[in-house]
Assembly symmetry: C2
Homo-oligomer: 154 residues x 2
């Protein structure tokens, strides 16, 4: 089982370009302002962190469906740390994922937590990178009176 | 020197979500059709390959400017191979970059080739991943009569 994903980027001037892929809407991409790029465009750094976040989400969705976990909503933040590493140069050393999951049944808290852990371990992007991934899930019940706080106990 | 890049993805139904980052246009992201997603949306796989392609380009642009290399155009395709790896599961094992650079001076061919190689080695996304990167550059002269073919000799 092998799949191939094609993209193309063409320089459009300064430190920016147009990223395209077959049948997908084109995306303006620039170096970030701290590397002489312009504000307001997607950057290689954001695409990388976004790839990890979205792969984690789609893997969670697949496992949750297989496990028949019922939930009302799912979102995750992903925060990538870029720093200079001796001998290696600039590296994205860590990405912190903070998923917030709202479940329908209090009895599902532990199972939901395990599915979130499994989603990180099975994400094909996590599998392909050196960047350390840390996951700090928050699981809520949909009837929580002060939703989305507080976190349910593990 | 540490920088942080933030993104957030929120589930919007089925196998898809909305990817956002501060001050950037939101992006609809879905699992690809082969993993029960819908056609026509950016996928984690495309974002990952696009992160590598765009980082390679912006790194090339930075080094080319520092080296005062003059060029008319730059574009690169990036093709990522996803496959099942024993013990590890699904992994993006290889990304092939095919940059096409059009230079102003024939005398710059070797230097341009070295700058392309250096761009791959210094790209912070390449530095952060296990995926093998292969680069097969094509360098043309802007007065080449059958531009963009043939490739100039190395």
């Amino acid at each position: 089982m092998t799949f191939v994903y094609e993209t193309e980027i063409e320089w459009t001037g300064e430190r920016a370009g147009r990223l395209r892929a077959p049948h997908l809407p084109p995306l303006e991409v620039s170096a970030p302002p701290e590397f002489d790029g312009r504000e307001g465009a997607w950057t290689p750094e954001h695409l990388y962190v976004g790839a990890v976040a979205s792969c984690f989400m789609t893997t969670f969705l697949a496992i949750a469906r297989n496990s028949k976990l019922e939930f009302a909503s799912f979102a995750t933040t992903a925060s990538g740390k870029l720093e200079k590493v001796p001998e290696a140069g600039l590296q994205m050393t860590e990405i912190v994922l903070k998923p917030r999951l709202v479940i329908h049944s209090i009895g599902d808290v532990d199972r939901a937590r395990r599915i979130i852990e499994k989603a990180e371990k099975n994400c094909l992007i996590s599998n392909s990178i050196k960047t350390a991934i840390r996951v700090t899930p928050e699981i809520y019940h949909h009837q929580d009176p002060v939703f989305p706080c507080p976190t349910l106990p593990a």
